[in-house]
Amino acid sequence: MTELLAVRDLAVAYANGAVHAVDGANLSVRRGGMLGLVGESGCGKTTLARALMGVLPGGARITRGEARLDGTDLVALSPAARRARLWRDLAFVPQTAMSALDPVYRLRDQMREVLCDRGGLSRTAADARAVELFEAVGLHPSRLADYPHQFSGGMRQRAAIALALALKPKLVIADEPVTALDVIVQRQVLDTFRSLSTDLGLSAIIVTHDISVVAYLCDQVAVMYAGRVVEHGPANAVLEQPSHPYTMGLMNAFPDLESDEAVLAPIEGSPPPLSDPPPGCRFAPRCPFAEAVCTREVPPAVAVTPDHWAACHRTPEAAALRPRARDPLTWRGVAEATA
């Protein structure tokens, strides 16, 4: 598999550069791969996704770095040029499908708008493609005649996915695509993504706070913390053998339906203010394994295996730290001691 998207040292600033919501993020998506972009609220994952699509809110702009999609640097393009590539190069699935679908038009008309106006298809060709797309996401083509409000939440989300796929984009970016859905419906939408990945070779970034969603769906994971990607690698490696203490903490803070009475280990404290991040490693104030160097120097990406890296000074010791991270006592009082 070759690399489809390569993001290097990307930074996005708000408020005239005073706040960097994304500050030197690195990640890559393989052709036909699904990357799970995991992080807590405010870590910059949504900003990163929006920056790639050129739909940053007013006042925010990319200040450095590059994002090569199939060789073209998106950062070098003007935001307008980036937006012009929407649908064709990049397509978006938002958290609530209602913001992607126009409530006053039938789905068929919304499909036509994208396929004819953006894609230059004829009306007949567009209708045929719309049927194809609805079948691909598991919706009955007869539902094309319906308005969005006639769909249930899960079906609406699938219709939004179908719309995003209309012009065969190289990459789909889905922002929390299943967060607002109930468990069973969530599973149905996840399965839609999975079948698109296996049948059509869809490449996607799934932005989510839910590690289980990533585990279920993605083959690659990027973990974000306070504006930076702190660990990146194959889902199996990152989730089973996390090498960054933050990832270890996340995994241990997550209740599992199957595991026995294991006590969860919360990560104490809260993420640093992005207007005034600590020097060095941004996780250091909450990290039970932080050493003097962590508060001084920004940790480089250290390779664990050729395609798995972690931005931590103690990456080589990860195997020894992992069992300690599983003990809730390790984390207790860390944030207060360093505050």
Binding site: G154, M155, D182, V183, R187, N236, A253, L257
Partner: protein, 331 residues
């Protein structure tokens, strides 16, 4: 119902809550008055000190049950008894006494505290509302802040809600519920608005409170993993009815109702290596305003047979203290 070994703290019989719904022109012309059966005939009993999880999808009626048990809304039918007293017949004084004993933890900590009240004022309000002498306020507030591990009370009390993080706010919400020293606590989606790393702390706290205070708790959630972590017993709801009731470990390991089975299978696990086979359930959640006859799941259930359409299944015991409402267990 089987005879309980102990008098339940909270008990409901034939509990129902119906809402009128908006009518289409055709329904108006035909004189139809459709109703939404949010809760439709629920019996339940919570023993003192028991922690019970109430699981279901949105629209299953689980939040309505919580509101009914706390007398925040009146039932359309049925009765609720709290420590033997009928909630429907409480006068003003008795209602205030009930408020002291039954409390609620809210879903959204950012909304559950009045933004213009300091934490101190938020915690003092329940005390002055229920007539606790002012001399005791300070000690009671400090006590409940200690229970939720919120650091130095003197400092916390002066803070305004916007100065605290989501996790801290949720601890304050818990402290406000505990300041009245309740016996019964309803937690409605207590962590769904919180970040993953903070959730664990709140869940641990709920567990700790359950063990140290002997509280009777009802945790309402769509999230089975939460219930699995905090509750001894689990009730599963589907479209206004309880379809399964049993010890949590047993319900998760050996679900007896097809709906529970699908619910458990649908939860993604935090490991790459996990089952991904198709769910044993099709279609979407039914419409509580337009219910099918017989079993409410029958249109989605792979095991449905004739009897499911003809007869509504009752909750029957299928193993000790494990009940399910499915004809498969009587066939």
């Amino acid at each position: 119902m089987s005879a309980a070994p102990e008098q339940p703290l909270v008990a409901a019989y034939g509990l129902a809550k119906h809402y009128p719904v908006g009518r289409s022109l055709r329904q108006v012309l035909r004189g139809e008055r459709p109703i939404l059966r949010a809760v439709d005939g629920v019996d339940l009993a919570l023993r003192p000190g028991e922690s019970v999880g109430l699981v279901g999808e949105s629209g299953s009626g689980k939040t309505t049950i919580g509101r009914l048990l706390l007398k925040l809304t009146e039932p359309s039918a049925g009765q609720i008894a709290f420590a033997g007293e009928d909630l429907g017949r409480l006068d003003r004084r008795a209602t205030l006494r009930f408020r002291q004993r039954a409390q609620l933890v809210f879903q959204n900590p950012f909304d559950a505290l009045n933004p213009r009240f300091s934490i101190g004022r938020a915690l003092a309000e329940p005390l002055s509302n229920t007539g606790v002498p002012r001399a005791e306020h300070e000690a009671r507030m400090a006590e409940s802040l200690r229970r939720v591990h919120l650091g130095d009370p003197a400092q916390v009390l002066e803070r305004m809600p916007h100065q605290l993080s989501g996790g801290q706010l949720q601890r304050v919400v818990l402290a406000r519920a505990l300041v009245l020293r309740p016996r019964f606590l309803v937690a409605d989606e207590p962590v769904s608005m919180l970040d993953v790393s903070v959730r664990a702390g709140i869940l641990n706290l709920l567990r700790e409170l359950r063990d140290t205070l002997g509280l009777t708790t009802l945790a309402i959630s769509h999230d089975l993993t939460l219930v699995r972590y905090v509750c001894e017993r689990t009730l599963v709801m589907y479209l206004g009815k309880v379809v399964e009731d049993g010890p949590t470990a047993q319900v998760i390991a050996r679900p007896a109702h097809p709906y529970t089975r699908a619910l458990i299978r649908a939860v993604p696990r935090p490991h790459v290596d996990q089952p991904r086979d198709a769910l044993p359930l099709h279609g979407a959640l039914g419409d509580a305003a337009n219910l099918a006859s017989g079993c409410r799941l029958r249109n989605r259930c792979p095991h449905a047979f004739d009897r499911c359409a003809a007869e509504t299944p009752a909750l029957i015991e299928i193993a000790p203290s494990h009940r399910a409402a499915c004809h498969l267990h009587t066939a």
